[in-house]
């Protein structure tokens, strides 16, 4: 609770400190869900928690199937940086701990935007991210809110 509060405060401070929110360049990735998914936008926290499997269900109760990209991909780096707010190495260490404590497994990693889009298209509960230039036909891009 205290941590969350501190996080929120630091966010506010960061936002206030930013020279201009509107002037910020467009993100280097797009968050996508299955076209049938009614969700139109997700908060950054929610999105991050889905990919760290801290939240596992959609608002309708369905299980979330997050899909990652390889750790070398730019989209992943950007996503990790901006949404998860961790380095890819930190995320990997997080998942190693999960793996070797037998508690959880990391989301499946897909090599490249196409594979991610294909996977999201074929899975109604899937959520993934692709680079900004990727072709997102057949899937729904949702907005990330603060």
């Amino acid at each position: 609770m205290r941590t969350q509060l501190t996080l929120a405060l630091s966010l506010v401070v960061a936002l206030a400190a930013a020279p201009s929110l509107g002037a910020e360049p467009a993100p280097a990735f797009k968050l996508i869900v299955n076209a049938k998914n009614p969700v139109a936008s997700l908060s950054r926290d929610k999105a991050a928690s889905y990919f760290l499997k801290k939240s596992t269900t959609w608002s309708d109760g369905a299980v979330v199937h997050p899909i990652d990209q390889g750790d070398e991909s730019a989209a992943r780096k950007a996503f990790s940086q901006e949404v998860v707010k961790k380095s890819v190495a930190a995320v990997k260490a997080f998942w190693q701990q999960k793996i070797f404590s037998g508690r959880d497994l990391p989301p499946p990693e897909k090599a490249g935007d196409e594979e991610v889009v294909a996977a999201v298209k074929s899975n109604e509960r899937a959520i993934g991210y692709v680079s900004a230039q990727a072709n997102v036909d057949g899937v729904k891009v949702i907005a990330i809110t603060e």
């Binding site: 190693q96 037998g102 990693e109």
Partner: protein
């Protein structure tokens, strides 16, 4: 049942209960000892084993994680060491009786397989093999399965320990409950028996105490003692009752005797009083007699003296009588001469008369000158006649005197005889008086003795009276004392 038996019943019952208690405690205790042995040799080491194995598994995981994080494939070699330690640790518990050898072997096999697979998978992760995903899933599943198996083993050991402890606790509780139940039963049974025993003892004792107190405080011998028990107290009670009955009988007897005694004492007292009065009377009578005897003695002395006087007088009278008789005899002789003289006188008178007659006649013849003569002659004749008459009288007188003398002689003789008799009598009287005096003196002496005895008797009577008084007082006291006892059946 005797009191001894009743009293012995308590320790006997207690001992019985204690033996029961001991047997129950020993049985339950030996069960707990078995369980404790199971715990010590089985469940506790099994638990420890599972924890150690969990630790080893964790160690394997940390080794793998560290190796993957450091991307150091060489570090994975330590997994082999850990696998050996795992096998060795399992082998150490092969003798544990509570562990299933099949399960242990399976565990050993699973662990070896997992370690092998995990090591390989980790090596692939280090090598950044993109297709490691499914292997990861398997590894995770195997790990979780192993962990779960070990956890279950731990849980099982814990549960078994817990069960053993619960069973021990239950046994302990049962033992406690049994002990409690036995103790309560013992206490209850002993309580009931003690209560009955105490009531059985105290009841008759209270009855006896009440009866004894009533006898002691109120002298109530009419009290009845009712005790039904046949034990020693019952015997005591019946003996007490018999004693009270005896006392009652004795009291009746004593009461009668005391009444008689009191009456007798009163009678003795009255008699003693009378006797005292009589003794005093007697004593004064004796004194009177004594005085009388003294007077009698004095009288006797007087009589003796008088008798002596009489004797002397009588002797004198005798002598006087003899001289009188002699004088009278002389008088008689003189009387006879008087008669002779009187005859002479008469003759002279006769002759004078005759002469006077002749002288008268001569004077008549001589006429006047002779008248005066005649007158004298007449007168002389009358004198002669008168002399003759006087002589006659004197003769009569002399005769009388002679007869009187004779009578006097006779009387004197009589008097002498009488005087002799008187003297004899006086002598006799003197003698008798002497005897009388002696006798009176003896009587007086005897009377003195009698008086002294009577005085003693009076003193004795006084003592008797005092004793009778005491006796009476004591009889009254005894009666008062006896009246304190009641023999008729009283209340209750």
């Amino acid at each position: 049942m005797t009191i001894k038996a009743k009293i012995l019943l308590l320790p006997a019952l207690t001992a019985g209960f204690l033996v029961l208690l001991l047997a129950a405690t020993a049985t339950l205790g030996s069960r707990n000892v078995d369980r404790l042995q199971d715990l010590e040799a089985g469940y506790a080491p099994a638990l420890e084993l599972n924890r150690d194995l969990e630790g080893l598994l964790g160690e394997v995981q940390r080794t793998l994680q560290d190796a993957v994080a450091a991307e150091d494939a060489d570090a994975l070699a330590r997994v082999e060491t850990l696998r050996g330690q795992f096998a060795e640790r399992l082998g150490r518990e092969s003798a544990n009786p509570v562990l299933d050898p099949a399960r242990t072997a399976q565990l050993q096999k699973d662990f070896a397989a997992y370690a092998e697979h995990a090591r390989a998978t980790s090596a692939r992760m280090i090598a950044k093999d993109a297709r490691v995903g499914p292997e990861l899933e398997r590894m995770s599943a195997d790990y979780n399965a192993l962990k779960e198996a070990l956890r279950q083993g731990t849980e099982e050991s814990k549960r078994q320990s817990k069960d053993a402890f619960a069973a021990m606790r239950s046994t302990q509780r049962s033992s406690l409950l049994l002990t409690l139940a036995l103790v309560l039963a013992c206490v209850a049974v002993l309580g009931v028996i003690s209560f009955r025993l105490i009531r059985g003892v105290l009841g008759p004792l209270t009855t006896l105490t009440t009866a004894a107190q009533r006898i002691a405080n109120e002298g109530d011998l009419g009290t009845t003692i009712e005790v039904q028990s046949t034990d020693e107290l019952g015997q005591l009670a019946s003996a007490f009752a018999t004693m009270v009955g005896m006392l009652r009988e004795a009291h009746r007897g004593i009461e009668g005797a005391v009444q008689k005694l009191a009456a007798a004492a009163a009678e003795i007292y009255a008699a003693a009083q009378e006797q005292e009065a009589a003794s005093q009377t007697q004593s004064s009578g004796a004194e009177e007699v004594n005085r009388t005897m003294q007077s009698l003695l004095e009288s006797a002395t007087h009589i003796a003296d008088s008798a002596n006087g009489v004797f002397t007088n009588a002797e004198r009278t005798k002598e006087t009588s003899a001289s009188t008789a002699k004088k009278i005899s002389e008088l008689s002789t003189q009387t006879n001469r008087m008669v002779e003289i009187l005859e002479v006188i008469r003759e002279i008178a006769d002759r004078s008369d005759l002469l006077a007659l002749n002288a008268s006649l001569e004077g008549t013849r001589a006429g006047e000158a002779g008248r005066g003569f005649s007158l004298v002659a007449n007168e002389m004749r009358r004198l002669s006649e008168r002399v003759t008459a006087s002589v006659q009288d004197v003769k009569v007188l002399v005769t009388d005197i002679r007869s009187s003398g004779a009578s006097t002689v006779m009387a004197t003789e009589e008097a002498r005889k009488l005087a002799e008799g008187t003297a004899g009598s006086a002598r006799q009287i003197t003698l008798v008086t002497q005897q009388q005096r002696t006798a009176t003196e003896q009587v007086s002496k005897s009377m003195m003795d009698v008086t002294s005895v009577l005085m003693q008797s009076v003193a004795a009577n006084r003592q008797t009276k005092r004793a009778a008084e005491d006796l009476k007082a004591q009889a009254e006291q005894l009666t008062a004392l006896m009246s304190k006892f009641r023999v008729e059946a009283s209340r209750k």
